[in-house]
Amino acid sequence: MNSNGKLALPAAMVAVALFGLFASPAPLRAEGKLRVGMVFDVGGRGDKSFNDAAYRGLERAMKELAINVEDTKYIEPTQTADRETGLRGLAENGFDIVIGVGFLFTEAVNAVAKEFPETKFACVDYDIQEGKEIPANVAALKFREEEGSFLIGAISALTSKTGKVGFVGGMDIPLIHRFQAGYAAGAKAANPKVELLVNYAGVTPDAFKDPSKGKEMGLTQYSNGADVIFHASGSTGLGVFQAAKEKGKLAIGVDSDQFAEAPGHVLTSMLKRVDVAVFEEIRSAQAGTFKGGPRVFGLKEDGVGYVSDDNNKSLLPADVIAKVEELKKKIIAGEIKVPNQ
């Protein structure tokens, strides 16, 4: 029985996968053309949420800044180790700006940025830690998710007929707690008696890509009386929309406008303008004005917000919008301090 030989199969597959990642011959560098690389977060392209927002930024850059498709490359990593490999591969292949999408890239960006001081890096949701310096060639893109989520919380509480609103989070981590904290505060501000139901899909990054789990958590909350659920859980949330469709209830999208996931059941979406942030970094890299360091996007900068357009007009009454706009003004003016934990 030759069992050793069979181990060669998985090993060979890994080798082929790694080879395929970088073996495609890099096109000859056109003079003065900016080359942009992007490595996605868990959930990946097609999550219709966080990652797709980042990709829209890249698409817009291609269109408006005349960047050729051949001068861009994106990678969807499967495991933690692939993230750093992906960044390094892009930097090695001479991409001018390399963008890591997601807080999970923080350590990897730090490491790779030091190895390639000439390459520009941007990291969405970069995890700024006290006493730890951000490398000079890294733009740390931060969002005040709690401010956007506050408005979403108010919309939920004002729309809910049962007085119970739900929250489905992806991975149980401080970043997602910010969404929850803002959401809870906003809901309480609009209706002090509101009850909040909370589920997290797990404690590993896989929690962002398990729609079956999302659906069951959604069904649980709806059966417990919630009639509006806000999700901040990547692809997992696509299951929440399925639950909303099945039960005829409302759900709220995150990061991108997720109306198309369940038309008639998506009350609104909390927008996180990752697309704008990504586009701006690419533009500054092209214009030669790129600067490392933290960049924060809140309500004031239009970096977060909510969707109100023709699609959800029938679900979102004008008086609710009026109240929410009032809250928005107060947050921007600093009259309301939104908690982030």
Binding site: S3, P10, G44, G46, K164, V198, V203, E216, T220, L238
Partner: protein
Amino acid sequence: MNLLADLWHILWSVETLTGTIRLSIPLLLAALGGVFSERSGVVNIALEGIMLNAAFATVLATHALTHPAVGEVPGGPFADPDLLVFGMWSGVAAGMAAGVLTALIHAVVTVTAKADQIVSGVGVNLLAIGSTQFLCFKFFGSTSNSPTIPAIRPWDLGDFGQSFLGQVLFGYSPLVYLAFGVLALAHVVLFRTTFGLRLQAVGEHPRAADTLGVSVGRMRYAGVLLSGALAGLGGAYLTSDVAQFTQNMTAGRGYIALAAMILGKWTPGGALGACLLFAFAQKFQFALRGAPSPLLQSIPSQFTDMIPYLLTILVLAGLVGRARAPAALGKPYEASEA
């Protein structure tokens, strides 16, 4: 006490009951597949990869058959709303076919080539992770997510559907009833038919079966391919439930099914019990945190996440007696051996 009342409510709610059934279905189908494979003497940890391939094939076929025409792209033959149902069930059939094909790899490697069954299973699982991502990128431009497909929904029974009986008995996708039909059939086939008895004989004492003229190789192929069809149906259920494919969406369900099969002592009925237990533990975990009770909500999710696994260990260690595997399980059959 408030806490006890909350717990009581969770334990006996319609949602916990129906959620347990829903979550058990993919596990049950894969576990039944495992029963057929292992009863014939072939260890099948490839269940995970079989389910994953089937899940993707279901989405690919359903998408190709049902998506409407967009620009230059022609619509599928079942894009018409009245015909959607054909597209969806064809997708399920495609999932089962993909399951059988994946199982065929495992059968060729383990039965014909007589290679180590665990190693072959690991190979199939790794291959499935890679191939589904590759094909997903090829067809849908993303290694992570497919577009949404039409999902097979529960029947609409009007007001009755909202009643207790309506929800508990009739509130499921038609695939759920199919799964229970398959369960009954599996029991009958395994214990009441010549085929089933021969399959068991091959797993217990292949030499004796061979002497009596039963082809060991053919029976083992049958067992493994059947497991492919059943686990494939389980994979199709997963995608039909959430209406899309997500990278590695089986998330270990194939392995849990394997554990459930062992816990159920290699019988269809036992597998059902074990799958219901796992499914209940998971639904209970969601219900604990998603309940309108501040006390329950204050339980850290790191703790509630442990519940299904903790329960498994407890049950394995205490409640279930010694499980006896088929005697020839994992051993390739050499006809020439004296």
